[in-house]
Assembly symmetry: C2
Homo-oligomer: 442 residues x 2
């Protein structure tokens, strides 16, 4: 993409009446988003690209684990929530709406009721189980005090999956699949997310893990054994049908201590060797629950067993905060100059800075780099504007693409361009071919 034909409204000065966390400030400065109302944001082109990349990785990993994608609407009928008893229980965070015919609607904060209604409509036999349906959709929670940008917005984008099983034993397998899929998902997103035993909270249930990314601005205090950070993810070739492997993936992490302050056990923490004790702050980016028959009982989501009897299904729900992750990744990966995007979620694969776009030889080399990186599928951002060098470098550094290729007059005379890795700051003068090769191999 040529920067002159794109829309990245970079604004160095971000005024605000609240103390901003780094991700909020950086997203405003890089023109990734714009606040339209308290806790409600537009995703400007650069932010939108990142959101879509995260969405796609989440999708691929859910599909790999056997979950099936669909899409539920944002608005739901109030009656459905009366069936589960949550309409009155949910409190003022639920945005309640009345339509022109005085019927009660609400903006879905989550979808257990709706998916249970869909399930009971179509699924009648144990033969159709197990089933795991998921969607990625906008949700709304009317936070009293929305803050931290997209980290605690009101309208937010979430992946939520729902599993249906005949009994608890089978439901636990579904749970383990999601546990493993989450580890692969966060790994691909370039963050280390630690699974921690969690209180089930208002959603209910008895088996529950939160996944937290360590960052100074995290809302939770977390305590863990450093060893848990070093356990590798299941990986691309993981077999989700291998039950022993599923159990092992959970056990090799849960054997190490890891808890948020809510569940913290000081004695267990003290028993960790001192050099492995980690006390830090964390951002919740995923949450998985097994909740048994909490919804299937009141909503009569039942299937026929092999023996011909009706039984309420055992359910679980599995969330990932997709829009929140944009902020969480930035919190975990930035420096004083700007964002440092992990390769897989970077809005563009590389940035090209043309230092003298009006000098023919310079422009020709920069055009060549642009054409070659585009052909290689690296979707580069090409700064061919006539802005001065300082602002161009500062802007590219702020946006934080994984690689920067600078094409200047001196280098062009010597047949080289400057290749810089954003994460390490390492620079070297290399030929155009070598630069393309390095970026393409990464």
């Amino acid at each position: 993409m040529r920067l002159s034909r794109y829309f990245i409204p970079v604004t160095k000065d971000v005024s605000s009446d609240e103390k901003m966390i780094a991700s909020h400030k950086l997203m405003m400065q890089t023109g990734m988003m714009r606040q339209n109302a308290a806790g409600i944001y537009s995703w400007l082109p650069l932010g939108f690209k990142v959101l879509k990349k995260i969405e796609q990785i989440v999708r691929e990993e859910m599909d790999r684990a056997g979950a099936i994608e669909m899409l539920m609407p944002t608005l739901q009928s109030a009656d459905l929530w009366r069936e589960s008893g949550r309409y009155d229980a949910y409190g003022p965070e639920m945005l309640r709406i009345t339509d022109r015919h005085d019927r009660g609607l609400l903006y879905g904060p989550t979808n257990e009721e709706m998916i249970t209604d869909i399930f009971r409509t179509y699924v009648k036999s144990y033969k159709q189980l197990p089933l795991n349906l998921y969607h990625q959709q906008w949700k709304f929670r009317d936070e009293v005090r929305p803050r931290f940008g997209v980290m605690r917005g009101r309208e937010f984008y979430m992946k939520d999956a729902y599993s249906f099983d005949l009994d608890e034993a089978s439901a636990r397998v579904s749970y383990q699949k999601m546990f493993a899929a989450y580890l692969n998902t966060f790994n691909r997103l370039g963050v280390t997310a630690i699974p921690m035993q969690a209180d089930p909270g208002p959603i209910g249930g008895d088996l529950s893990h939160e996944f937290l990314v360590l960052a100074d601005s995290g809302e939770s205090e977390v305590y863990c054994d450093k060893a848990v950070l070093d356990v590798p993810p299941p990986g691309e070739g993981f077999d989700f049908e291998d039950h022993d492997a599923l159990i092992e993936e959970m056990e090799k992490r849960t054997k190490f201590y890891a808890a948020t302050d809510e569940k913290h056990d000081e004695a267990a923490y003290a028993a960790i060797p001192a050099d492995r004790q980690v006390k830090a702050r964390g951002i919740e980016v995923g949450h998985i629950f097994y909740f048994g028959t909490k919804y299937s009982d009141p909503m009569k989501a039942e299937v026929q067993t092999k023996e011909g009897e009706l039984t309420a299904i055992h359910g679980g729900s599995y969330g990932i905060g997709v829009s929140r992750l944009v902020g969480a990744i930035i919190e975990a990966s930035h420096d004083e100059n700007g964002i440092i995007w992990p390769d897989e979620v970077a809005p563009f694969g590389a940035g090209i800075i043309s230092m003298k776009p009006d000098a023919e030889d310079c422009a020709a080399v920069a055009d060549d780099v642009y054409a070659k990186l585009t052909a290689a599928g690296k979707d580069p951002l090409y700064d061919e504007t006539s802005d001065r060098a300082g602002p161009k470098f500062g802007r590219m550094e702020l946006i934080g693409l994984p690689w920067q290729v600078t094409v200047g007059p001196r280098g062009v005379k010597n047949g080289v361009v400057e290749l810089k890795r954003r994460a390490t700051g390492e620079k070297e003068d290399v030929s155009v071919e070598a630069a393309i090769a390095r970026i393409t191999e990464s």
Copy 2:
């Protein structure tokens, strides 16, 4: 995808208290969607796949025309609509919402106000023009009587683009680009959409075209010269920077008579040679407007001209009903046995029916077809269930994938499978290799 691991709740009997149009009935029967409340639908896996394919084609064609993708939220501040004067003017179709702090929100039925606000925040100079920003997002219109399934739902998915230009001449070029992009978009979607002069309606403006797909269930009566149906689309290689070509694309269509009943001119219609007079019904799938300074004047969306003066920008908006198109395509393409998906939007590229999944030789051939079509990127749907032959054929016919490959015991003995083209009903016995080749070439 193996059907036994997927979720397509086909239900032959669709009960309803309203007279259903074909697309509504077929979408219910094929388990593409489920109604959650009046005019509010869930997109079950099969329907979701089609919606995503349309979204992606719309995206590619918008990008090709130079529009830039972003994403605005579903909820908007009421204050923004008070600025343009539309908050009071819009009427009961606008879903008005009050949050916990008693602030006025609304579920966006369209986004002129919000995009104008974003524009005026960041764009200050003529140098940043022209600019065309678009998004694909859920919208809500509180229809008095939602009907016809996704064709007139309340929560619907729409692509809306907004152009910003320095003056009317330049705005007309932006308009022409969208006109050409729409022709390519609908062509790729497998439908013929006729551009017709339209009344600008409540959105305002003085240059406006609707794009209509001919179908018996269409809500509008349309009159046109048959010749307009035969003008080819601009095509993949079209140069959107060629102003003469842009004008020509409009002129070579608008020179033929085409109008909805609202704008119908009986005398002009009578002047068309009798054998070219077409009177039919049409479904509106797109609508483009040039509205000048209708929003930029009251909302002060101004830029500095070359001469240093402030001037209100000239705007246009360009909608495509993405969720509505799912229904419109079915209306235009089905028979008494079910849907006939155009290749580019089909939820799966081909269907494979394994007639004897428990016979080893049959299953091996069917598995082989599945593996090869998958490897060829045709994303086949593989019916390896133990259902009887009749229901399997009926279901595949109903779902309407472009190709069907039937693997039966007799054919396997003779080294052939049956290849059927859904649109024509043509069948032939061919080798597995020949079947793969035919499907891959299509």
